[in-house]
Every structure is written in structure tokens, then in C-alpha cells.
Symmetry: C2
Subunit: 252 residues, 2 copies
């Protein structure tokens, strides 16, 4: 495969509880890092409510635009879990009770705990492939390039473990971080010159603000560790020329 | 104004550092809660990279769709801070050095620290209104219904403090939370019946998984506290009927 074409992904976070501010998403950061290890770049994320029309429109927009789409949330047993039905609608296929998923649920739950709500978790779009859930048994699923996972981080991570080896990836992006006690505005002009000489490296500048003083972390990202190292030497030299110091972020 | 028409908002989080997993966003949750206090509902959030074409397309899509749009990130002094120029492009207006913003920066920084990079923070779209930044002086700005804020949480929060009183809001959504040691699948069928009788209340069910066992938090949200209370009594009764207990989430 062509290593120069980036493989892209989008995360769709489905859940009113994120948009109300009640719950802080913990899945984006984990997904981004795991995808990067296999050379897939997370390029966008959308947080949307538990509304069927919104899920359908969003999934259809992003599955045409990115190589992979991952969704989290809304595949549990309660009335507000409408992701599976919405994904079926997005693909224009009926939903059906997957026999393997039903068997998995019946094996997992004692007889007296099997009810219609729990069996609903076996309903997936026609043609979907199940994704293993070693934590709580109810599977996720894949339809074409759309991977539908649970929102509970522990379960999402377990599902992702089995997805990752199946992805077609590109090059892993390697990063180098440099933190200084200089403010962003002090390094900015020199940094722009270095960025201009290294157009193949994405150089990000991230200010931190703690106890009334600023520090800055510069992050270099590219698949080429030698190029990253060359640029980072120039940045360290710039910092020293500006009477700054390299510092350990944890000590800021 | 018509209290029954919800006032909606979208957050656009601009920053490669969020999409790489390096930084976990801390602004969404804060914004959602502050907006709700004045009756504005956060209905979507998008996390996008520092790419001009993406910022332009995203901002133009969401500003037509929601009453208010808030952006965070990319208004600092470094080469990767391209939000202001991108917003100008989205609105089809030139960027200019705002005289008040330049004066604010020149008053804030000692003469020897004023450089072209820092003055770039005074460049805003023509016609933009400045947003006060009491933390680090460099202002945010507003163009029509788009509010452009810093990404550093401390600064974003300070900017939001001055925006909040200016927003045209609807009804605040009030919420009641009930946590039980029952699993989601156990309460699901009864909960769906209660939801059917209270279509005006958004009832969410959120499983937690800790040390091998599940608990569930049920959240009722509506502007009507009496309706919330009536439905929550029915939910507490359901939990007791199912041999469950009400528990304190912190003790789970």
C-alpha cells in the first residue's frame, strides 16, 4: 500500500450526558493514541445527542468522508439506547436479532435476568459483524467502515483491542515534546522560521497557565524520527538563544 | 420571547493536540453547564484540526444550524494559531489589526516583549467585537453568532464569564439524578414505561462499571421541577419493587 496516503478516522460520540456536561468523555484520547500506533489518524470527532435523525445524518456524512468511523455510546438495554437502530437506518438496512449475539447474552446472564430489554442488545443492522465484548458480553458491531462500540470506557477499550489488529494502517506519527519556561509569544517568531524549514513536520505550540505564569510545550509530529530530532535540536537552540530553559512539564 | 423554542449552541474545538490524544478537552463540560444556567442548550460539539479549509467549512455549517457557535483554540501568537484568519475567511471579510486589541496588548506587555507574533493576536475579522480576556489580555472576539475563545481553560472560562450575561436564553433544564445498585438491564423495561408516561422529560440511563460490578445512574432532565419530582418518585418506587437500593454514586 501507498505509505504516503494517510488513513483517516472520525469518532462520533453519541450521548446526551456528554452534551449536558454531566460526563466528561474519556474515549477520544484513548482512541486517538491506539489508532496512531497502527498508523490511522483521528481527524475529527463529533459529539451528538441521542436523536435518531442526528445520528443518521452524522454517520452518513462522516462515513463518506473518512476511511474509518468509530461510534461510542447508546448500545445498552434502555429506551435511550438508539444507536443500533439509527445505524441500521443510516445504511438503509433492517435491524434483526443476531443469533450469535443472542446466544452470547443467554450464556452470560442467568435465566431469571434475561428479559426483553437485555435481548434488545442482540439487535444489530442486517449484515453487521459482531465485535467481541469480554467485559459485559453484549457485543458491538461493524457495518462496512463504521465500528459501533459501547460508551463505558472499560468496555470501549476492550472492544477496541480486538478492532485494532484488523485495521489497515499507514505510518505511525512519532512525536517529540519540548517544554520551556518561555512564553509562546517569545518563541513564536523563531518557531515560525523553523516550521517553514520543516514543512513535513507538524509543530504545535501549547501554552500552559499555572499559578500566574506561563510555560510552553512545543510538540513535533511526523513519521520520520530523524527529521523530528533535527528540528528539535533547532528548537532547543532557539530556546537557549532567547535566554529560556528546558523544563520538565510535571515540575511546572 | 417564546419560552418553548429551545435556544441551541454548538462548540467547535479547534486543535491538533485534542485529536492526537495529547490533551483532553476540559472546555466542553464547563461550557455546557454555564450555557444551561441561562437556558441555552449545547446540542453538538465538533473537534477539528488546525486546517483552514476544515475550520471554514465547519464554522459555516454550524453557524447556519445553531443559534450560537462557540470556538476554542488557535488564537495565540504562534504559526499554528490560524483560527482568526479562518473565521474571517468563513465570513468572507478581511482580517485587520483591531486598534483596541493592539492597545490592550501594548499596555499588557513590557516594550521589549512586544513583537510581531504577539501583535498578531490583535488581528481579527473586520467587524468583529472584542471579548475581554482578564487573564492574559489578548482578546477573543465575536462575529455575528460565532464566539471565538482561547483554548486554555482558565482563559476560556474568563472569556465565557463576560459572554454569558449577553446571551438570549430559553428555559434552564433542571436535572435529578438517581443512582441504584441495579444493572441497567434490570430497570430497563420498567423505565421505558415511565419514560412513555413522561414524554416531556428526557430520562437518561448511565451504567457505571467498577471493580467487577455495575451500577446505574438515571438522570431526569426537563425545565419543570414538579414533573421531574413526580417521575423520580415513580423511578424510586420501581427500584424498590425490583429489590434494588438507592445508593450514593460517590460510594460506588
Amino acid at each position: 500500500m501507498d505509505m504516503s496516503t494517510p488513513i483517516t478516522a472520525c469518532l462520533v460520540i453519541i450521548g446526551n450526558e456528554i452534551l449536558s456536561g454531566r460526563t466528561v468523555d474519556a474515549n477520544l484520547s484513548h482512541l486517538a493514541k491506539r489508532l496512531n500506533e497502527v498508523g490511522v489518524q483521528l481527524r475529527e470527532a463529533r459529539v451528538i445527542p441521542d436523536i435518531e435523525a442526528t445520528i443518521v445524518a452524522t454517520v452518513n456524512a462522516v462515513r463518506a468522508q473518512f476511511d474509518y468511523v468509530f461510534t461510542t455510546g447508546g448500545i445498552g438495554p434502555t429506551h435511550d439506547d438508539i444507536t443500533s437502530a439509527s445505524i441500521a437506518k443510516a445504511f438503509g438496512v433492517p435491524i434483526h436479532r443476531h443469533p450469535d449475539a443472542e446466544r452470547i447474552l443467554r450464556e452470560h446472564y442467568p435465566d431469571e435476568q434475561i428479559n426483553e430489554a437485555r435481548l434488545k442488545m442482540a439487535d444489530v443492522p442486517m449484515g453487521a459483524e459482531l465485535l467481541d465484548n469480554p467485559v459485559s458480553s453484549a457485543p458491538g458491531f461493524r457495518v462496512e467502515n463504521v465500528y459501533v462500540m459501547a460508551g463505558v470506557p472499560r468496555i470501549m477499550q476492550a472492544m477496541l483491542d480486538s478492532i485494532i489488529p484488523t485495521l489497515r494502517g499507514g505510518e505511525e506519527v512519532l512525536s517529540v515534546s519540548i517544554t520551556t519556561d518561555l512564553a509562546e509569544g517569545t518563541v513564536a517568531d523563531g518557531l515560525a522560521e523553523i516550521q517553514a524549514r520543516y514543512p513535513d513536520i507538524e509543530i504545535g505550540s501549547y501554552p500552559m497557565y499555572k499559578m500566574g505564569s506561563f510555560s510552553t510545550t512545543l510538540v513535533l509530529r511526523s513519521p520520520d524520527s530523524a527529521r523530528n530530532e533535527a528540528a528539535s535540536i533547532e528548537i532547543r537552540t532557539l530556546i537557549v538563544q532567547l535566554d529560556g530553559h528546558l523544563i520538565t512539564p510535571e515540575l511546572v
